[in-house]
Symmetry: C2
Subunit: 760 residues, 2 copies
């Protein structure tokens, strides 16, 4: 891929390129391959911002390490499916695979080892291109060039064929990103007319029960067509089914057959819906009434220009590529999940009409509450409101009376821990109180946070912690509940609900109950209060069954008190011991011996940047009065774990959280504690950034003197006034303004006071 690999030093020794605001085609900086090699689990195919379809090549449908369907190291492509998850650790979607073939049709993909056994085709990156709204590859086996572009609910595939009497485009309804154990439970396909097909499959995957429909219109009427079911052609049968135009079953393929001339292009327009084939067709015709591939591609690129312009930076080519690609990744999910009619499949599987909001789905909340949604609150306020209203609708439809945990279309996957819809809603409410109905939201939050059926919340409420013998990941759950409860209390305070505030403020302190002073770390306790023994603070083994921590160790989770860092510092014996302990974290190696964590990389000692529990930890240096250590570690992570190459991401992008961390970090501040209305100052990584806030105001960050060597903050001015402590209140930027850093080559005295010794 030629464009993605422009080689550039992160910081050119001489002058930085001029910031070209006017006429900037920011989408040209997007490098969709970032994160496709290794653990990033992103996909290279086109998507509109927060779009419902993501047309992209699939090279694998089984491996969790290839959860998006595409791994850059693979050398063959199964085909091109219409939907993809971005950066998740578990596969799903990959609905409706399209693959051109020449000659006898193969109905199964074949293997990576032997693509010739199936429809899978070898390819090379030489022929591959990925840019905003566009993907292109040559499939070597059929000799067909495939181009993809995508709008919001619909996309286009353009295939350039060789001359053949036996060319075809197959749709495999049996394909999905299954992760080895899941399956298509049912499917249907129907040839609506000589150039239109609709279909459906009900998948039993990570999302337990997911019906999704598609519609496809072909630019050229079929010369012939054939449906296959369980490997056999669906034909007229004089004794039973007498239609060759539709079929239902668990393993269906549709083949559009053509006689092609050399270089003949055939375009397929596709759309999906969660509701019905009719809705999919309506989505298709509403969004792409034409056959102009470039028109759709350019419209999507214009959307990306608009979205990227919300935060514009100065910097090197590679910085811009890395930054704008991060913004691109942060703006891919949550995904639109609503038809052009305004209808969508609710969490109760019924059809709902979204009144007053646009419905979004795919909420990777354990990840995205940290930095992605706080970023949205700044520059995607309207969409964030829609997302919150979507979550409230989900709550209304939830049989368990819970806000989403990790929702995937109309399913709760129950993935990860906590109830982190709460910080998303509270953070947005405190910064944007008119964005949604606060009282309704608080009712949903309170019921969620006190749901006795969910993950030992009842025991947590009663005992003050989740007892390890009763519940897996008991320490992580206790700590995350305590933080979420802090957020509930914050919202109760804003609403003047004193009893609720006091109740949840008390629970927010439950983190203290799991701090074992004898080891100076967080540790599991049973219902009787006994510490979990034996205790290995570096132990993590997700396959072991009972485990007190979520994808991590005690040493990593012991830092998880984002809402009461002063309290945590106190527990750990004061600032000196606290920062010394932080230093230790970055030098440990013991936890590397743990099993089951191959997909969490980006390791600096036991700081694992490739997974979310570590994401706030570097900023704790600033809060404890050692911002220069934060600056060092931030620079280390930014330069070694981000970039514009396929392998530039060190862990799952997780629907944009890894990228959102980068964005905030470049800007010089980070939301350590969403819901607190404060950011923590780190160290800026780009010379200038301009945020167009959603309220129309502009907030500009400058890093004077920033260079490869000058990455230490010397002083900070906010709106022209010196900022002594490394805490940036949201109030300082919400009306626009300036954040001016002066950078230098050595640690300075700035920020040695740390945060004030009060709770943020």
């Amino acid at each position: 891929m030629r464009r993605a690999f422009v080689s550039a030093l992160l910081f050119a020794a001489t002058t930085l390129p001029a910031f070209a605001q006017s006429g900037a085609r920011l989408h040209e900086y997007i490098r969709p391959f970032v994160g496709t090699k290794g653990e990033g689990n992103t996909y290279p195919g086109p998507s509109a911002p927060f779009g419902m379809v993501q047309l992209s090549p699939d090279t694998d449908h089984e491996l969790w390490d290839t959860a998006s369907g595409y791994e850059y190291s693979d050398t063959s492509i199964m085909g091109f499916s219409l939907t993809h998850l971005t950066g998740t650790g578990i596969p799903d979607l990959g609905d409706f695979l399209f693959i051109p073939q020449i000659g006898p049709v193969k109905l199964e993909a074949g293997t990576k080892a032997d693509p010739s056994a199936g429809y899978r085709s070898p390819f090379t990156h030489d022929t591959e291109e990925a840019s905003a709204g566009y993907y292109k590859v040559r499939l070597d086996k059929p000799g067909v060039v495939v181009e993809l572009t995508a709008g919001e609910r619909a996309g286009m595939m353009r295939m350039t064929f060789p001359a053949s009497d036996d060319a075809s485009i197959m749709t495999d309804l049996h394909h999905m990103l299954t992760g080895k154990k899941w399956k298509v439970a049912w499917s249907r396909v129907r040839v609506e007319d000589a150039s239109t097909v609709t279909g459906f499959h009900l998948t039993n995957g990570w999302a337990k029960e997911r019906p999704i429909y598609y519609a496809a219109r072909y630019s050229k009427p079929f010369d012939r067509f054939q449906i296959y079911s369980d490997g056999k052609p669906v034909i007229y049968n004089t004794r039973r089914f007498r239609s060759a135009r539709e079929a239902a079953g668990t393993n269906l393929q549709f083949v559009a057959g053509y006689k092609t001339t050399a270089g003949e292009k055939i375009t397929v327009k596709v759309a999906v819906s969660g509701l019905s084939a009719a809705h999919a067709l309506q989505n298709l015709d509403a969004e792409i009434p034409h056959w102009d591939f470039e028109k759709l591609r350019d419209a999507t690129r214009a959307k990306w220009d608009q979205e990227l312009s919300r935060i514009q930076i100065e910097g090197t080519q590679e910085q811009k590529e890395t930054f704008y690609t991060s913004v691109y990744h942060a703006f891919l999910a949550p995904n639109l999940y609503q038809d052009s009619t305004g209808e969508y499949r609710g969490f109760d599987q019924n059809t709902h009409l979204a009144k007053g909001f646009t419905n979004y789905a795919i909420f990777s909340l354990w990840d995205t509450y940290r930095a992605t949604h706080p970023l949205f609150t700044l520059v995607q306020r309207d969409r964030n409101r829609d997302m919150i209203n979507s979550m409230l609708a989900h709550y209304d439809q939830s049989v368990d009376h819970l806000l989403p945990i990790w929702s995937l279309q109309a399913n709760e996957t129950w993935c990860m821990v906590g109830y982190h819809a709460v910080p998303v809603i509270v953070d947005a409410f405190l910064k944007d109180p008119k964005g949604f109905d606060g009282k309704r939201a608080f009712a949903a939050i309170k019921r969620t946070a006190t749901n006795p059926d969910y993950d030992s919340v009842a025991a947590y409420d009663k005992l003050g912690w989740v007892p390890f013998e009763q519940e897996n990941e008991s320490v992580s759950k206790t700590l995350e509940y305590a933080y979420d409860d802090y957020c509930v209390a914050q919202m109760a305070r804003a609403l003047g609900l004193k009893d609720d505030e006091a109740y949840f403020r008390r629970r927010a302190g439950h983190y203290r109950n799991l701090f074992d002073p004898s080891v100076g770390l967080m540790r599991g306790r049973d219902a009787k209060g006994q510490w979990h023994s034996p205790f290995d603070p570096h132990h993590y083994d997700e396959d072991a069954g009972v485990n007190d921590f979520t994808e991590g160790t005690s040493w990593q989770y012991s830092w998880y008190v984002p809402h009461d860092v002063p309290g945590l510092i106190g527990l750990m014996g004061g600032r000196t011991k606290f920062t010394a302990k932080l230093d230790e974290l970055f030098t440990f190696t013991e936890a590397d011996k743990s099993t089951g964590v191959s997909d969490i990389q980006g390791r600096i000692g036991e700081y694992w940047h490739g997974n979310e529990p570590s994401h706030h930890i570097i900023y704790l240096y600033s809060m404890a009065g050692q911002p220069w250590k934060a600056a060092e570690r931030l620079r280390e992570v930014v330069t070694t774990q981000y970039g514009s190459k396929p392998d530039s991401l060190s862990g799952n992008d997780d629907c944009g959280q890894m990228s959102a961390w980068y964005i905030f970090t470049c800007l010089g501040f980070y939301p350590v504690c969403p819901g607190s209305n404060a950011y923590v100052i780190g160290a800026p990584q780009v010379p200038k950034a301009t945020m167009r806030l959603s309220n129309g105001k502009t907030f500009t960050v400058t890093a004077n003197g920033l260079s490869k060597e000058n990455f230490y903050v010397q002083s900070v001015r906010v709106n022209g006034k010196p900022l002594e402590r490394p805490i940036l209140p949201h109030s300082a930027l919400e009306d626009g303004g300036t954040l001016e850093f002066t950078m230098g080559p050595k640690p300075s005295e700035w920020g040695k006071g740390g945060m004030e010794e009060t709770k943020p």
Copy 2:
């Protein structure tokens, strides 16, 4: 069953009971057990007229001979499901089985041989009652009395429990009437609140792909509940699904657990929908806002009183029971298939709103075009209009551009042959031209009748017959197409479409091409015109693969030219030979040796009344000038193959066709050729009948002197004028009037002229 088995002579030797029009509670004559023993394949449970739900006990889910789920000879009941087909030869439906249990819950039914292995319970007919809108039985194993009643889209089950700490009501979503090879492809259940459950299953049965939803409200909140999936309790799982309140999978059960006191009654209100759980719940709450079991039952009985009053008869108790039960069976299907919102699942699986009509489904057209729909045209005109509009919507939604063949909810089963939606529509159009859009209907009819993809219609059009080497059941198809084409021509004529009329009039004569004069019978031909050899005119073996006839023999099908009986008489050598040949039919026994026809009984020689191809044949005697022979055979069939007992039906009731035959026959005339606007006079079987026509007019039939001995027609007067020939034009009754028969003990001269020697 006490009430059903009132013993009464068919014709009491003395006086007949007086006809009590005023205050008649006609529903009391309904005997729902008729047809439940042997081949009738009816169900005993309650249904509203043409209702969407039919709550009924299931004793078997596999045997085609128990297609309705209930066989009177069985001694144990699996449970009570919500939907049933009436009188079909193939099982389907049986959605959502409810069964009370005491003690440890069993999740599988067990076997007839060993009910104790499962939830199946022994029962005896002593404790069983079935009447209009009501069914009751005591399940011996749990000692629970179950009562059922049904409205249009919703019903109620009332269960009377013994004292138990461990009583339960289980819903088995895995149950359906599968016929051994079919299955539930997917299902879902959800505990909406402490006394409400919704569920769904997608079945892959006779109907290939049928999603159906239910909702249930329980009169008593659950003391406990448990969902099971694949035999295991669905419980909180700390690593994956964390809800015990909902589940999805292929084998689900829901158990509502109760502590009960002796005699405690728990009522469950249930409803179904083809669209969603929300629609099912809406149907439930709209139709049964109360908990009064008797109120719903009595409302349904009042509906039956209203429906039965359309044709009132005088006669003995058993005659009334037989007649009104026949009307009941004729008015059970087609079935309402539309939610209370007016929405329904279309044949394209999309949601549609029925505009200007009520949507019906389950069209057993090969059967019901013969007498059921002609009966509807007389006394159910508005519903018949709705049914035709439903069929036209089906056509619009059909990917194959076909009117329904044998449609089952939103599926085409492709069962049987021909395109007999055509005679239904044409017959109705000629009698009720303003009932629907004739031009639209004709377009659908013409396209259906010329569809080149369907069952060798193209070859039939080109050659003049369906070649046997190309298509199974080639002779039956040719003959039935020719009749259907006659109907198309009739409609074309009515619309003034001369070219179309000529085209289809020509095709209507195609029956002649398969009459082999060398054997004097209909016989298969190949595409070159060669007769199919060897030829056994009595052969029928449906399991043999290639077979030229549909569920019958050449000797039976050779009479199938309903639209040109004079032409057929000519081919067969004139009236004398024709009637002699008819005589032969009733004395043959050879075809009894055929295999695969165990479910077609009612045999008189090779006349098999238990299946539809024979239904018009007796009336051919009248048309050929020997009405006294018709009278003899009609009396024979009526007295030996109909009655008020469980085994009174000799063959599948086929959604009411067997019953509609009886109704017309009792009235003394029969629609041998729907679409001709003529009926053929047979011999009345009840002393008086009064039809309240749908146009408000009254048509009265009297059979003066009718008795056990006096079953020969001596003379006939229509509207006071003598009728010399055995043809009753529709015009003679459409404005109301009288049909007066004088009956006698011996054949008379009346009718010897037969029909006029022109086409009817």
